[in-house]
Point group: C2
DNA sequence: CGATCGTTTGAGTTTGATCAAATGTGGTGG
DNA sequence: CCACCACATTTGATCAAACTCAAACGATCG
């Protein structure tokens, strides 16, 4: 379970704890339990497969630093990224239940990834009900996000899809204290964005240019800056309810349209 | 919890039990527990909202007969169906955990729908580990299906998407004994199919005609007939692994292409 | 017998994909 | 420091998939 790239786990679990506390405050002991259960914490370079579809599972992986994704491949090479996992997010929330992986996991940026072994998770569910509910909640949010992505690729235009993705990431990263809401690291190529939102890389490029031209965002060198949150949300038809993050700084409600609207197909 | 359309629950739970037994054999007592826990069993007419997004939850709903779906609406009326639920399927597997619904549920055909109240599910998780694991498994499969749909809308062509949907439904219905693999009831309009696969109704119509022309299926009066399972699977790039149903009648593997192929976007 | 709803067909338009080439940009090694 | 390579982004031109609008045609139902 350990090799050259092993890493100590002092404060690396910060984001995880901050995320879980969104569901409810944790005691000092509960925090220690989670941190202590983390093992096999190791660095990965960018674009590294952490687990592949079909591999046997050993536990649940958590991103501590960096950025990873889940993806599925079609026989002919087409790829769909089905989730992003930033610091504090689980890569495979069900890794401790099913015996084999259902999809693959890869890093997008250089990352530190830890593992909660199956037995540790089972121990938590038996002895730490509050912590266990928090893990529960995290997997539910995860599911909810997948559904929202399905709605996006099924119904939203290219422009809306990218706008929506940026809104979502911003909210999620705010929740773990990795952005103040205006800038954050988004270390993905346009090809990866394309596989995320179900478009071609070329079209992603052009749509990004549209978003820039409209003064909604700037994306440069893996850094996303949100220039007009209000309008970005409206353009995306974004409603943060599905993230189940509570009501902090609510009131960013919608008002009208922002061009680029569409009605019924 | 009961009204005019209340229904007794004698053998209506058949499909549910048949489905859960795909995960592992259940004892007589376990079967009785599930059947006994079902309450509020009632008939719904077709196209009836069972629960709406935002409603408070009371438990988990199960389709006993008929056909239902989960869907989400965008502000401007666009709709995406995010799951189908046939006999034995849960409409809202997490209904007993979250406090408010994340999506809506509607019947597609006249249906009988029952409810496992929150307390009943909690009781099962505490006292019937094997049954509890089976429920666990059912929700995991559910999640896996959502991911596969995301892959579909993101990457598959219209032709592949519909073919894939038909393959999936056939396998799922086989698992609960509602088809022998060649014909089954598919009581949905082309508009509903469109909202399922993220296409327009007109395009669904034309793609269905293509599938018929190619001799893969026939769809008439709410009855789908699969005319060439092998070729349908190949056209869809269908791989049943994600349904986690075990290996019965395996060996329907792929061989070549069937026209309509596509490589990289 | 209209009225309603779903399916089908046609014509024209838009969105997004494909192919290909040009233009950065960041290393690496000489 | 520069030449070179690999890789990502950008641009242009062309093409195909899928959407929209509109109308016709069948069912089914009160």
């Amino acid at each position: 379970m350990s090799d050259g790239s092993e890493v100590g786990n002092g404060t690396v679990a910060d984001a995880l704890i901050r995320k879980l506390e969104h569901h409810g405050r944790l005691s000092e002991e509960e925090r220690a339990t989670i941190t202590g259960a983390l093992c096999g914490v190791r660095r990965h370079r960018a674009r590294d497969d952490v687990i592949r579809e079909g591999d046997p599972t050993t536990g649940a992986h958590v991103v501590l630093e960096g950025f990873a994704c889940r993806y599925k491949l079609l026989d002919d090479g087409r790829r769909q990224i089905v989730a992003y996992a930033g610091p504090g997010d689980f890569c495979d929330p069900r890794g401790f239940v099913l015996e084999r992986m259902d999809y693959s996991i890869a890093t997008l940026a250089p990352s530190v990834i830890g593992e909660l072994p199956r037995e540790a998770v089972i121990g938590i569910t038996e002895r730490h009900p509050r912590l266990s509910r928090a893990l529960w909640w995290a997997t539910l949010v995860d599911e909810s996000i997948t559904r929202e992505w399905l709605v996006g690729v099924g119904q939203r235009t290219a422009y809306e899809r990218l706008a929506h993705l940026f809104c979502e990431l911003c909210e999620r990263l705010k929740a773990v204290g990795l952005t103040d809401g205006s800038r954050f690291a988004l270390p993905v190529t346009q090809m990866e964005l394309a596989d995320t939102v179900g478009l071609s890389a070329v079209h992603v490029n052009r749509t990004l240019q549209d978003l820039r031209r409209d003064g909604l965002i700037s994306l440069l060198g893996g850094e996303l800056e949100i220039l007009d949150w209000e309008r970005l949300c409206r353009a995306a038809l974004f409603d943060r309810a599905y993230l189940h993050l509570g009501d902090r700084d609510k009131g960013e409600a919608a008002t009208g349209g922002v061009g680029h609207e569409r009605t019924r197909r």
